[in-house]
Structures are given as C-alpha cells and as structure tokens.
Amino acid sequence: MEKIGAVLIVGAGIGGSQAALDLGDAGYKVYLIESTTSIGGVMAQLDKTFPTNDCAMCIVSPKLVETGRHQNIDLHINCKIEEVSGEAGNFTIKILKKSLHINMDKCTGCGVCGQKCPVEAIDMFNEGLAKVKATSVKYPQAVPLVYAINKDYCIGCGVCEGVCKAEAVEYDLEDQEVEFNVGAIILAPGFEEFVPAEGNKYGYGKYKNVVTSIEFERILSASGPYTGKILRPSDGDVPEQVAFLQCIGSRDLREGQPYCSSVCCMYTCKEAVIAKEHMDQVNPTIFSMDVRAYGKDFDKYIIHAQEEYGVQYIRSRISSITEDSKTKDLILKYETEDGKIISEVFNMVVLAVGLNPPNDAEYLAEKFGIELNEYKFALTDVFNPVQTTRPGIFACGAFQSPKDIPETVTQASAAAGCVNQLLYEKTGTLITEKTLPPEIYVAGQPPRIGVFICHCGINIGGYVDVPDVKKYASNLPNVVLADRNLYTCSADTQTIIKNKIEEFHLNRVIVASCTPRTHESLFQETIREAGLNRYLFQMANIRDQCSWVHMHQPKEATQKAKDLVRMAVNKARNIIPLERIKLSVTPKALVIGGGITGMVAALNFASQEYETCLVEKEMELGGHAKHIYTTLEGGSVQDYLSDLIQKVNSNENLHVYTQAEIENIDGFIGNFKTTLIHGDRKERVEFDHGVVVVATGANEYQPKEYLYGKNPLVIKQSDFEKLINTTDDIKNKKSIVMIQCVGSRDEERPYCSKMCCAEAIKNAILTKEKYPGVEITILFRDIRTYGFKEKYYRQAREAGIIFLRYDEKNPPNVIANDSQLKVEVNTPTKEVININTDLLVLSAGIYADREENEVLAMMLKVPINDDNFFLEAHVKLRPVDFATEGIFVAGLAHCPKPIEDSISQANAAVSRACTILSKDEIEAEGKTAVVNMARCSGCGMCVENCAYNAIELIEDRRFGLIASINQALCKGCGACSGNCRCAAIDVLGFTGEQIYAMIKGRL
C-alpha cells in the first residue's frame, strides 16, 4: 500500500500544536482536529506556569499563532471523528465539522456580533465564573479568531446577522463531512479535570468559597472573571487565609482515581505563590500527603515558595469541611502528624483536582481501534510511551498519562519523531511552499514609524499608564501611528498590525511589550507578511523591564516605558532592510552518548536513512541501563537493551564509535564538522553533519554517608538490584532497610533524582515476592510514585513493606553492630525508632559531572545549569532544544528521569532535528558584520578577535589589504566591530549609528 505524507492530529492543545508544528516544519501535510472552537487547550486557561512563573498566555500565544498560520497545517475546529479505516501508512479519516453558524471564511473576528447579542451564556473558558454572550469567541487571543453561535442559548433574534458587516452570520449553515487520507495518526485529546461528585465531603458545589484549582487559575488570570484580583466568590472580599487541598480525586480509591495525577503538587504551589504575588494579604496553606516535586528544578521552587513567599505546608489529608453560614468562611478539621485534631478557619478553599481521562476516551479508542489501560488512558508500550497498541497510531500528552506541559511537549515531539520514522520517504510530497508578498521597497524613503503598545492583560497596563505612553509615542518624530492593544501577540492584533501597515504606509514597526527573546520573530513574521522586510522592526521591553520590576512605582515605570519607546523610535529611524542568506544542510546526524537515549535517537535517524554517527566513551554501548533489570511496570530492560544494541550494530546507516572522545566540533546549524578519536589505536575520524544530539547521560552518586564503603552490609540500590535478580544472597536476610534520597535533595544536589522511589519499590516488591519472610523498611522523605506508578506504592504497602518517614533535617544514624547494623530513625514527630537490619540499601541519586559536561558545553557553546545538567532553550516549551540552533539534548544529560522518559526525549530530539535535516537549505540570520572597505586599514585586529574564523585579510584591487567577512560563518557577535579602531566594521541590526541614536535619546 502506498504510504501517505500526511498526518492526522487529534486535539489541538499544546501537545497537538507542538506535534503539528514539528511535522509541518519537517514537510508533512498536517490535519489538526480540535473538538472545541479554538486551539490552545488547558494551557491557554492557565495564568502562570511552574517552575519559571512564565505567563502561560505569553508563551503559548506565539505557538498558537504559528500553528494557526502554518502553511502545512490544516486546522479544523469544532470537529468530531466519524470513521477511521486503513492501516499504518495509509488511513482514511472521515470527520464531521459541526457548524459554528458563522461562516469561518468571512468572519473577521471583529466581535460586533458578540457586543450586540442580547443573550448571556455561561463562560466555560472561565470555568463558569463569568458570563459570555451566546455569540462569542472562546477567549480573546483565540486561534483561529472566529465567532460562533451557541445554539443552546441563541433565541434566534437575528441581531447578530443584522450588525455583521462581513455578512458572516449564517444561521442555517450546516454541519459538513470531510474526508482525507493520512499516513499516521497522533492522539492528543488531553484530559478532563476531576469534578467532585454531588454531596462530596469538601462541600464543593454547596459552599461558594470552595473552588477547584482550575477555577482558581481563572481567578488568578488577568483575563479572568476578577481581572487577576484574588476575590472569593461569595462576597468579593479578599480572602486572607486560603487553604489548598491536595489529591482531590487522586490517590483516592473511594471518591476518585487510584493513581497520582502528577501535576497537582506543583501547580498548587504555583497557585499559592502567584496568589501571594497578586495580593500580599493572602496567606496560603497547603495540605498535602507527599510533596511530589520530582521534575527539573521543582524542589527548588517548593523551597522558594516556603522561604520567600511564606507558603505553609501541612502534612495532612482533610477529612471534612463545614461552612460558617454567616461569614461563609470554611472550617477545616484535620489531624496533625503527631495525632492532634485541629480545627481551623479559612476564608477560601482551593481543591487541587486531579486529571481524569478525556470523557470521550472510550469513543476515541473504539474509533481508532486502540486499547485503553485500566484507568481509561491510552495503553502504550512500556518502553515507548507514545506507541499505542495499533501500529501507525501514536498518543501523547495527558491522554497517555497525567503529565505537565514540558513532558507533554516532549511526548508530542516524540510522537512526531515516530511518525518521521514511519513516513520519512513521503516528506515534502503533499505540501505547498509559502508565498510571501514581494518586499516593499523602502530604501531612501523617510521613516514612517508605527508604535504598538501592549497592555499584556494587566501585566503592563496594571502598572504602566499605557494611554499616556501612547500619547507620548505619537508625538515623537517620524511616528505616524501609535496604537495600544490588550495583547499585541494575539492573532487578532497581528491582523490589526498588518492592516495598519497598509493603511498608514508604515515602513518601520515598533512593538512595546515584552522581551524580543521570545516574541521578536512572531512580529517579524507578521510585518513580513504585510510586505515589510522583517528587520524593519524594533521592540521595547516595557514588561520585563518596567511593569514587572517597578510594580510599586507606577510613575517611574511609566516614565521608563516612555524612555524605552523613545530609544526604540530613535533606533528605528536608522534601521534598514536586511537580507538572509541561504545555507546548505548536511543531512547527517551526530549523537553523543551510547546509552539507551543515544541509541534510540541514532536508530531513529538511521532508519530515516540519515547517515548517523554514534559516539560512546566506554568500551561498549548501553550506559546506565546495563545495571537495570526491569522497570517498575515490568518491562525487561536487559531484553530491550540487547535488542536495541543488535539493531544499532546492524544498521548500515549508523556508524558506532566506542572508546571515543570528541576532539573538536566546529561549524553551525546544518554544517557541523566533528573530529573524534576512537578505539584502542586512537584512530582519528572526521565527520560532517547537520545536527547534534547530546545524550551523554549522568552518573550514579557514590555515597559518602551511612557507612557506605566502610561496612559490607551497606550497598547501593543498583547493587541490590543485581543481587536480587542474579543471586539468591538475599534469602538469608531477615530484615532489609532502604534509605531514600541519598545524595538527592541535599545542599549539594538540591534536586530530586526522580527514579529512586520507583526503583526502591520495584526491588522491595520483587524481594517480598521471592522471600516473603524478609522484613523490608523503606525510610523516605516523600514517596514520589507519580502517575500510574502509585499503583505499585499501594501494592508494596499491601505486601507488608513498611514505609517510615524520616526527618529531613535529622537523617538516620547507622551504627555497625557485628553482623548487623542498627539504624536510628528520627521521625518528623521527634520520635526515635531503632531498626536492626541485615542489609542497608541506599537509594543513591543521579548527578552530572561538572568537568565532563563543561568540556562538551564549551565545545558546543551551550549552557549547563547550577546542578551541572544541560540547560534547554526553554523549560516549558522547548524541552529538548538548545538555544543554539541545530543542537538538542535528551535523557539524563537534561535531568534525572526514568527510561521511558529518556526514550521519549530521544525521539523528540530526532523530531526537532528533522525540522532541519528534511530541508535542503535553511536561512541564516541577517544580522552579520560588514566591512566598510574604504575605512579598513587592514590591521587584522578583527581577524584575531573573531571566534568563528569568519574574517580573513584579502588584497583588494582598489582598497589594498582589507578584512573580508564570510557571512555564513559570521554569528553577528560584533567582537570585531567593538575593537575596530578605524570604525570600519559595523554589525547589521546593531550598527554604531543605531546605538548612538539610542544613547542620544536621553532627555
């Protein structure tokens, strides 16, 4: 059967959008199907994201805009899957596009219909806390920006039809069936939030001031029902005492789901921090069982919340809530760790509700012919978490298991990576090239500057007097238009900007909003679509540099915003159109590290017929996985590993170099050149490649504590795993004690190693199965069996394994005692418990080697973080990319994680890399250095200062000895220009003239 170079993606939240962008960029036709009227999913509803407190809308909005206008992505909203047939490589899909009763092609999103509509409906985007009109758009920044009539509320008065200038309202517009063929399918329908049932013990639904976390998220949001003020629903008062209750509907066999929802611990902490930030009177208290902060930098976030924001943690599960009928306050009764019953009054309660499978999970499973797991999430492969039970169909995000945004984005890319592997021959067969209007010729014309000032909800507008800045900007020389917008980055504003460029004949555009580091390219794309060269653009960062850092000084913040706008205008008067040169791409990959992560990545590249070079420093492949026998879920790691090694060694596109050391990596995206030395004889190999994947892994901590290395009865968890799997040495042991968090979550390594809890429980259960008489005690701080791993925690307790929490400030004492060890455990309630044990197993954490990682980081020019792991481009939305293009990270090199996550990252890195490798050529930056030949004295200072060997001295017929710059190699850093004594070198985009104009701007 002929394979088809198109992909169906079901669900257009952040996961579906990321998969669509990856595949669209890699040259596949993408059909992106969304059941609601707009893309963005739950992330668009969030106020901020952990652990960076990035504004969710600010970071997701550019992605959604990009998705909405991607040339290769066909977006279908308000859809339902009707029929699916065929097999991997060639499926036929039939969908039903439900009518919006407004013609999408005609609607401009102007919103007049909504303003005039006389009927109110419940605003579901604001979780029912606000009202919208029956004719409405899901949220102001929605993509695509089209209105829809809600027929459940519409009274058919005809007002909207009357006011619509675009004649888009068509009441009798009918549902439409659409059919298409695709080669693969990605399911990303997300999750359904848990809603406490009627008569629940928390009084949700009965007491007004008990809200769910997603409702509270809307309360926090600047675009929410209370415009970002923390008010309680009963009377609109500011609640001073706010209680957050964890595990609502999670880890609850009676009223909820047995699994852990993975994200609630972190989002609750974030909501507490943001609430405090929005209103200082708020005192957040969090009631939790375990604090599961297992991700990268999560533990630091929790500590920061406690120390800086005074967020209080109480380890208890609330048994009941009652309401004071007069004050509408809530009385919480709980038991403290030392057994006291306390009754405390709170003004508001937030329930951290868990993540349920999507309501239509069974419907989807039936239509797509895939199996679901016991909790009705997609059943996937133990080792490849995006592979469903049916070939050619992949699942990602919360539909696979509850997870946070970066893991969703990773899995989305991983699913795209697997699609690449399946359909690679068909890339580029069904797509059309983007046609841009010819560039308007602006050289020599007087500047006509348009300034767009962003309110950013209340992020800017709440502190900076935006109308005043607008007035000021409109009076600056050459400014012909100053405008202000609620969100300048939203899709509707892009259209406004384009229209204004045409209307006012703008030839320079300034956006005063947030940081150019995240938003510049979005606006550049917009002005390019309007016919302006993308470099005729400037940004003034009045959010990160004004409103957010001078929150208590609105006057000064406004003055500063004016100054920054003026400086941007001064620079804009001097900017010129620039050209981007095209660079060729070497369709080959370099993968550094031969563990599971590296091998999966390399094999994926190689099976797409990209020549791949896999570099391993050890004698043999396998990495850390050589010491792991099974996964918690029962997958045989050793079988998987040997199968993988066999595939790697037999693939003809894959060159494996063991005992290898990288000597040098030169070049840039699409054109790297690597020299390495390998083997006993230290042979030197040179390799050209277009991308790099860093999968160098990490190391197991070698404990210094608890008599490790001094007493033979003290061993590491990995040693124990080997003993229990390969010997029967454990048989004679009567008592085994395991200590968790050895070398993790301490001062030196303040992070969680993520896998140790699962490892300990896995080995404990296996031991109990083999030798039921052995008494096992696990000493822990928090048990972090997130997601479906919770099942095994329960199983372990049922098997009689004892879990005992120790005081983190007072870790256990181990005393050698002839043939035994005595472990003194200090519990958090200040009790001391002594355990005599025959074996002490230490769950040693994961650490990254600073020296080793620094060498590679220097070579690749990529950063590493405080904990010596590699630092990705963006922790939320670019989890496997480096800021430097063409270089990616996966596996333990990024942060500690279990095998299945590493495999997802490996496939994700491949998918991201394929967006480059699948192209013959890519465009380079236009901001490079240029030489004024008449001024150059040929001194050669620049040649010495250039770190990229981009400059050489040449003999010119007219000007004699002069410097000459290779545009492809030039990175535009300007080291040459800063040193040029003749002022002969300038950096385009940052010319001396432009910077002097900014300096001069001072009034």
């Binding site: 959010r543 850092v549 100054d563 220097m858 020019k861 200062n945 535009g972 300007g974 800063g978 985009g989």
Partner: protein, 151 residues
C-alpha cells in the same frame, strides 16, 4: 537651546540618576528578563540597550553616553567562560580594562562606569547589580565632567 548648570547634587534633593546599561542578548539581557519574570523589584533608573554580545560594545559607546549626559554606564555580559559567542566577553574584558584606565585619566570617577557579569539564570543577581550601581552613582552625584552643557 538653554544652557543648564548642573553642578551640585544639593540643588535637587530628589535628583535621580539616569543610567544606561549595555547588556548582551544571551546572558545579562536574559537575566534582566528573569528578574522581570520573577518580579524582583529594583530601582527604575536604568535604561537597557540590547547588544548581541559584550564584545560588540565599542568604547566609543561608553564615552558617547557620558558626553550625552547619562549619569552612569553599566556594561554587563556573560560570565567569563559562558559567552554565547565563545570569547566575545573575554575580548570585551581586555578592552574595558584599558578603557578603565583611560577614563580615570580623563577624570571620570571610578564607579561611574561599571563592568559586570550576570547570567541568564541570575535574575536576583541582576537586580542586586542594579541596586548596587544605582547606589554608587547616586553617591557620586550628577555627571558633570564630560557632559556637554547644552544637552
């Protein structure tokens, strides 16, 4: 054009210095962004000019800033070794070491022009740098030595 005489800080008790900051795009500018995202509050006296790398900063930019009446200058790049462009900040460091001596020769008080490092992960440090620099320049008073009197 009116001729102003700004010679003594006692003229205006409420005098606030204006400081221009040249920040490299990859570390210090990102650090400033992080300070913003983390809502770390600092004095509103600086105006940031983004440059690709501290190596881009020509000594003339600094001198021009002083002659144009900025009360202080801050230059901040990646920590030595962290440069996105490999060694741009090292080139800058050598250059500014020389410039510092030249400025002293001109009679510019030490502390009016500051060279520092802040990484993308150091929002807190960035805010502290700004607090420190603002304090130093406040104590030095308005920039009069180099300033053209008509601007």
């Amino acid at each position: 054009m009116t001729v102003q005489t700004v010679d003594d800080k006692s003229i205006n008790e409420n005098w606030e210095p204006k400081i221009i900051a040249f920040l490299c795009n990859w570390c210090s500018y990102a650090g400033a962004d992080l300070a913003g995202v983390s809502r770390i509050q600092y004095p509103p006296n600086i105006r940031i000019v983004r440059v690709p790398c501290s190596g881009r900063i020509n000594p003339n930019f600094i001198i021009k800033s002083l002659t144009d009446g900025w009360d202080g200058v801050l230059v901040s790049g990646c920590h030595p070794g962290d440069c996105h462009y490999i060694s741009g900040n090292l080139v800058a460091r050598r250059r500014f070491a020389i410039l510092n001596e030249l400025l002293e020769f001109f009679g510019i008080e030490p502390g009016r022009v500051n060279f520092m490092w802040a990484s993308a992960a150091e929002g807190e440090r960035f805010a502290n740098l700004i607090k420190k620099v603002t304090k130093i320049i406040k104590e030095l008073g308005p920039n009069t030595k180099f300033k053209k009197k008509w601007c």
